[in-house]
Symmetry: C2
Subunit: 670 residues, 2 copies
């Protein structure tokens, strides 16, 4: 992957020459250490030939069917390559997991990966919810044998509200089997990746009925297709759900059952159990399964970081090469990155990349702590972890999707071209706003925790770290007198979050006092409740970011300066975006808004010089970035032309539609 | 198109039964009169068989090449159908224009229309810029003969900055020809719709050189392809630019010239001229061409209205049928439209549809007035019209794109499916943010007018109606004492716009006083300048909307009530979205924010009952709405299934990729 280092566009080279720090410092920071950078680069290098192969095939001109087939071709090429390394099964699993993660995965599978749920949900669920006997049987077959799995939970009529799932699994003690049924159209499984035509097994989440009673939802391993012929088994209705905004290679599927029988031992029984006679034994600690959900959200933050940092790399490099218009009539046309409006569209998202990174690391650390506490039956920190993972997933996915869209628009018309890769990145990012917990639903879950915390604070009870600011607010501690230092600004974020939570809680209480039933009062207050959860996420990110950059002592002064500027930009930017709440809830006054805006303008100007250096530090090889606008050499226009020439329409000078549709029509006019 | 009226989902029927007004009142309001409604419906009915035909072909599963070919197939079907009416040429042109406009056009051509520039730009430019002799020759051939045209202005390296266009047309008095050249890679024409393989002629905008001098950009009619064989002519380099986020049937193309010669008479000479000997005669009134640009923007507002009203129809109907979660554990699952957060995501966009409509009508009226004044050499109102058309295009396109995205997300996972039609609508709407003037550039053009107007106001000069509020502000008239009536709120919008403009102008002046060159000072102030243009657009929309609903005396009381609620919602919603500026610049105080928020909650609750009625009034036939989620009968899940079954992958139980990629891989594991 060295061909990219040739004939760099002079404007890009100029930017690189004047960068004040070594971009590799960004790389090490994001990877965690120089060793981890080496490891990642080796891995990317190892499968680089597959990446090149993929790009030559121009996925974007294929038909819907070919896109799916091509995704599996690539998956096979990657997996075969990894086989050659002859790793242990667990090493292999982790290698695949790394390759399939979105840094590389969204480059290999520009339309999504039909095997991602096999590795990302089927195997982890077996590890987490199968008992040891089941694990031995199924994991072995999934690793070495003939099982390709997926995870089938969502139904046509139910996503968010799990209790409402309609698929039934009824135990029949006669045959010691569960009988699976899809009693309604809306009960069909709908959405699971790879379910359409890829997987031959699935973990199916269904309402368990035994001894005449419904016991709630439980997971079952279900064979769907013949292992030899891949034909769907009898009484299984299966297919794929059709075209989507993006990720059309994922092979999302539907699945219905007609009295389909599976052995008793196919219910995953690490937690709850059904005995041979049909007796139901409820799990003592179903909170353990919470962990997986949180872990998935931590991984989502990483995915979002990859999408956003790719988009920002593309927008920065393009904006340095693209010249348009004049500021000074005597000068040549301006690099569009010199327009302050363009900096304003792009630089806050550079800052967001680092904000996501430090937040994801913090959340992962907390997850690990809580996970080990859970195994000692200590559930104390679980609500805090859960509430943070909810609002952070919601806020980061919304920021990322909106950010990528703004970055795409900042590239003008060319950003609309698939060759920019920005539309594809947007398709990936915006999907995250919906899956693994719809954002509004997640914000309301966090709000529930915040309202409860506020009441505890009012009752004088001490609170966990992430909501400690509520204790201060409840004691009536006023926000400090306004000053322009960062600490005061961060404290203002505390005041905004606390003020929003206080108001939402008061309005909720007032409605309940007025006789509105609690659940309805909750609904009536829900706009403010989502807003206070957002404010909570924002203050958490801001504090984590600010704390993190204080601990960069081992880094160069130049790098620390850049990080400090980005952190400050993030803090100032979001304060100005929500300036109404700062005026309402903190000691900020009208005149301070101006000072803050000047600070914003100053930061944009300062970051301008290092923008290319920072995004170079994201270290995306051209084959991973997949963008004519963002390539390392900056030869934007040549690449756009090359991409255009791949269009099948350009293989013929006259398209058949001329003879078929245009000519007869024109002639009839004569 | 009556089949849609069957077996309506009970939840939708319930909503229709309890609607307080007759939805046809909305229809008449939007169409302009019952007669116009009838006319539109007749037109839609007349081509309904083409619409049905189109839908059966499932464009979304075709390859890139097939998408283009299918667009022409549909175009031919539509045009043939219209031919049968044997209209006069001008009637026919208007009929086609109506059919191709985005209400119907975006349904007929879900991936865009390769002929839209022939009707939308080629013919109008001939009408506007060709002299009468040229018109007789070209328009006749375009209507009755063998010319299909497009409009080629944008280049690979130049969009916004027209002066920078690089294509040259050099007059050769020897042969009385212009010699066209593309001197650089970046000078290739890039983007024109239909240019790739559809058009055989184009109006090409090029730098005119004659008698050794560059005379700036001028339009030329250029033949590109042989009329009989459709082969590109010699010295023409032509093709299409490749895949895009959306509109892949538009056949956007590129075009280069190598010493390509055209007759002198192919320069459009209604305004400027080149005489036989090469003498250049400059146009006296080049401002006349301004009109076309403004007219195109008015049309864009209409297009945006169609996109947004389709999206809002889909989201409302789906949210009534979709049930998810419980508010009260004893009750069945809730219609998601009963969640206040869902109302908050949807209802403001219903209001926006009407806001766009009244604004578009106002702008069209002003355009007509100004156009007739221009013909009497009265240019007085032109700057005001231009400044309004710029900021309104920018704000309405940004609102519409963001609105459709929010509506899509409000439909959860199913909104991500192409079958919802929301991704396609988004692809259309977000493109408008970039074409016909990039939004940031347009906002800055408006800002220029506003800063100038502010200075005039400070100098005591009276200003045109749309900026009259600056006179008040300059006189130091304070915003009224806060009250909750709508007039006070509208006055607060005035205060916000005036305050933003004043600040931006002051900051600009301060920089200039500090010695920053004017153009650079402008750039440094540009964030605030775009923001003041946005505020200006918003106050204009708010006032136009509020004025308009005062003039509905002939309508029923029930309808007027609904319109009043929507107008108030629009005003309250945007005040809360920008509450910081209201706290800064108007007399709004912290405690008023709460009152306003309660007002918002009240309005959402009130509009809830009529939401289905209002969107029914948008009067979209199912074949025009093209959405499984939004169909009139509300049979959402059946339709999603039907759409899934159209996927070519579902025609075989086992896809070929099993044998090719999965099986060998699985077996190698054993």
């Amino acid at each position: 992957m060295t061909q990219q280092r040739k004939t760099v566009h002079k404007d890009l080279q100029y930017e690189r020459n004047r960068c004040t720090f070594d971009p590799v410092e960004v790389t090490y920071f994001l990877d965690g250490s120089p060793e981890k950078t080496k490891q990642r680069r080796d891995q990317e290098q190892y499968i680089s030939d597959v990446l090149v192969l993929k790009e030559n095939m121009s996925m974007r001109y294929k038909s819907y069917k070919e896109v799916y087939e091509d995704s599996l071709r690539i998956a096979r090429a990657v997996l075969s390559k990894i086989k050659k390394l002859q790793l242990s099964k667990i090493e292999e699993y982790e290698f695949v997991h790394g390759i399939f993660s979105e840094r590389l995965g969204s480059a290999l599978f520009q339309d999504g990966n039909p095997l991602s749920l096999h590795y990302g949900m089927f195997l982890p669920t077996l590890m987490g919810q199968a008992n040891s006997e089941q694990q031995a049987y199924w994991i072995n077959r999934a690793w070495t044998g003939d099982v390709i799995g997926t995870y089938a939970q969502t139904e046509l009529g139910h996503g968010t509200f799990l209790r409402g799932l309609e698929t039934t699994a009824t135990y029949d003690p006669e045959t010691k089997e569960f009988v699976l049924n899809s009693p309604t159209l809306t009960s069909y499984k709908w959405w699971p990746g790879g379910l359409g035509h890829t997987a031959n097994h699935a973990i199916v989440v269904a309402q368990l009925y035994t001894q005449g009673e419904c016991r709630g939802i439980h997971p079952f391993v279900v064979q769907l297709r013949d292992v030899e012929t891949h034909e769907p088994l009898k009484n299984i209705i299966i297919g794929e759900i059709g075209a989507k905004l993006g990720m059309n290679g994922v092979n999302n599927g539907f699945l219905g059952f007609r009295n389909y029988r599976i052995p008793r031992k196919n219910m995953l029984m690490k937690n709850s159990k059904v005995l041979e006679d049909g007796t139901y034994a409820k799990s003592a600690n179903d909170k353990l399964t919470y962990g997986t959900m949180v872990f998935v959200r931590v991984m989502l933050l990483q995915d979002l970081l990859h999408y956003l940092s790719k988009a920002v790399t593309i927008a920065v490099r393009y904006s340095v090469v693209r010249r348009q218009g004049q500021i000074n009539a005597e000068q040549p046309e301006v690099q569009i990155l010199d327009y302050v409006t363009q900096q304003y569209k792009i630089f806050p998202h550079i800052a967001t990349c680092f904000a996501i990174k430090v937040t994801a690391i913090w959340l992962l650390d907390m997850y690990k702590t809580v996970q080990s506490q859970l195994h000692q039956a200590d559930y104390k920190k679980l609500p805090e972890l859960h509430s943070l993972s909810c609002c952070l997933k919601a806020v980061v996915s919304a920021d990322t999707a909106a950010g990528i869209e703004q970055l795409r628009l900042s590239c003008g018309g060319h950003g609309y071209m698939t060759a920019s890769n920005l539309p594809v990145l947007y398709g990936f990012a915006t999907a995250v706003c919906t899956y693994e917990g719809e954002n509004t639903v997640l914000l309301l879950q966090t709000a529930r925790y915040l309202v409860k915390s506020w009441k505890q604070a009012m009752g004088g009870k001490p609170l966990p770290e992430s909501v400690e600011y509520l204790n201060e607010a409840a004691k009536g501690v006023k926000h400090c007198r306004w000053s322009n230092d960062l600490e005061c600004l961060i404290d203002a974020y505390n005041a905004v979050a606390a003020g929003s939570i206080r108001l939402a809680a008061e309005h909720l209480d007032r409605r309940i006092r007025d006789g509105v039933p609690t659940a309805e009062a909750w609904n009536q207050t829900s706009i403010e409740l989502t807003q206070c959860a957002e404010a909570h996420a924002r203050v958490f990110i801001v504090k984590t970011f600010a704390n993190d950059i204080k601990q960069l002592n081992s880094k160069s002064e130049e790098f620390r300066q850049v990080m400090f500027q980005l952190c400050e930009l993030y803090i100032v930017y979001w304060a100005l975006r929500n300036v109404g709440n700062f005026l309402r809830f903190s000691s900020m006054q009208e005149e301070h808004v101006q000072t803050l805006h000047s600070r914003l303008e100053y930061l944009l100007m300062t970051i301008r010089r290092n923008a290319v250096g920072i995004v170079d530090g994201f270290d995306f090889d051209d084959h991973i970035l997949c963008s004519a606008l963002g390539a390392y050499d900056g030869n934007v226009y040549e690449r756009l032309f090359q991409e255009a020439m791949k269009s099948p329409l350009n293989r013929e000078s006259v398209n058949i539609s001329f003879e078929k549709y245009l000519k007869p029509f024109l002639k009839s006019n004569l």
